[in-house]
Amino acid sequence: MSDAVQKNILKKLLMRTQNRSRLWAALAALCIGTTLLLLSVMIWWNFRELLYGKNQNDTLGSTFLIIGKRVTEQNMGMAGATVFTPQDIENVKHAPQVEDLGIISSNHFPVYAMMGGKLAFATDLALESVPDKFIDKMPAEWKWTPGSKDLPIIISSQFLDIYNYVFAPSQGLPQLSEGSVKSIVLNFKAGRDEQSETFLAHVVGFSDRIGSVLAPQAFIDYGNKKWGKPGLTDAPSQVILKTKDPSDAGFAAYLKQHDYNTNPENLRWSKIRAIVSVVTSATGVLALLLMGIGALVFVLFIELTIARAQNAMTLLLQIGYGPRFLGRFMIRRFLPLVLGSVVLSMMVTVICQVVVASLVVSQGLALPVLPGWPVWLALVISTGILALLVSGSVNGAIKKQ
């Protein structure tokens, strides 16, 4: 006699009194609860990814802020009044929410940019540099060594927007895509008189974070050393901060107290994060409740099934079937249902992530196509808990026989 025959007979004895509608209701609640739980973890993680992930997305309320000392009637014109002293810098480093600080260095030497052709122009230019870790989208070509004539630069995305939407239409000039701007070569003349050098500058990237033209730190350091005006202070007038939560009241108070100014838009946007955080937590709590109810109904269903098959179960135990064998048999019947509902939940979550990842691209944001590890961890933990619940309720119900 094959195992299949034995299983069929056991199924006939132990599983025949199932109330299908109750089973499907329990599974639906379980599935919805698990899906909501995974989705709330997914939302939370995506939001974290947007703010702190490798592809940091400044469009959504930056955690990076550039601060400077406010120029007032009193301090304007006073040399060195709006620069950061080493003490200021040390102080800011320890301000609430501040995780890291980068000094923004600017050029203390003349830079003259020129371009020929249809878009011909020539202008004096101010350059800045920040430590590489503060650059939002680090281009592969972001490197300069003394002696090199090729100079990579990063320009603010806002520059391109101003050109495309304001300047080009008003002058009858063609609009430019990011790709076409990257193919343009600018002639840079840096330095004074006969000591000056020329460079071929390429735009290698665009920054949402920095509102000026960035050159590699090595270039600014080289230029300042070679052509810098003696007596000009090296102290920065702006610093860039990486903050944990710029919407924090303590941080805002700190800025106000020291009269530092920043882009208030960043602070405003970050409020949304707090709202999303509350929504995510509320969804998580609701999901746990639903999952709990689903699991409870499912456990009750298991106990009811075993209670209804009580006579058969008792007789099976009497003719020599072990409780462990019967427990395993019942668990193998119930567990796939739970696993099926969890797999369905995960599939819904993966689909949602794929859809969300493709939708946010149009907003200038980047998210991974697959859910992050916390979602998978939540899946493993919830599956483990459900499996324990199922096996616990089956074994408990059999023990009562």
Binding site: Q6, K12, L13, F325
Partner: protein
């Protein structure tokens, strides 16, 4: 495997037992493997209680029942299941078939578990006991006599060292008793096993090596 009983008193029968001299209750008893024991038990003396205690279905007793090294009262469920599959078999007085299964399914459910007799043997035994045409009949539709014969075959399917029988032929006529007793003797002999049969009246179904009054 030896069966040893010592000071056995079923709690619900305690007062009744105190009023007479029993060959089993309150006594110490050692039954060797291969013994054929007949327990004569007038109505109400605890015949079924004894069989259930020996089979591990009841724990409401004082004293000790020992199957080999296993003290029954402290034997865990899994060990008990193993004993019931490999060492001790039983024919219940009330047959205890699954009413929702056919006669053959009642056999099959034990066949797979016990790994004793083959399906062919089981089929042959059904034929010997006149159940060939009843294979596909539901347990609930079988007569008591037919149920009893299915229960006998089910008990013989597994390997065992002891066969416990509680009025095993109570619903059978003489012809069927002879056929069933012959089959039981044959299988008990094959297993080199012992048997304990409890019944109301003296009988000569089997050549008993020991007779006890309950």
């Amino acid at each position: 495997m030896q069966l040893s009983l010592s000071g056995l008193i079923p709690v619900p029968l305690r007062e009744k037992i105190n009023g007479y001299q029993s060959g089993i209750w309150k006594n110490s008893l050692l039954l060797d493997k291969g013994s054929s024991v007949f327990i004569q038990a007038p109505s109400g003396t605890g015949k079924t209680t004894l069989i259930h205690i020996l089979y591990g279905l009841r724990k409401d007793y004082e004293g000790e029942v020992k199957w080999g090294d296993n003290i029954l009262s402290s034997t865990d469920d899994e060990t008990l299941a193993r004993l019931r599959t490999r060492s001790i078999s039983v024919i219940f007085q009330d047959m205890r078939l699954f009413p929702e299964l056919t006669a053959w399914e009642n056999i099959e459910i034990k066949l797979k578990l016990a790994h004793g007799a083959t399906a062919h043997q089981a089929s042959e035994w059904m034929e010997r006991l006149g159940l060939r045409d009843k294979k596909n009949s539901l347990g609930s539709t079988l007569s008591y006599g037919e149920q009893q014969r299915v229960a006998i075959i089910r008990a013989l399917l597994q390997p065992f060292e002891w066969l416990l029988m509680d009025e095993p032929f109570s619903h059978l006529d003489h012809a069927n008793i002879n056929k069933a007793a012959a089959l039981i003797s044959e299988v008990v002999k094959t297993n080199n096993a012992g048997m304990i049969l409890a019944d109301l009246d003296a009988n000569n179904f089997f050549p008993y090596t020991k007779t006890l009054m309950l």
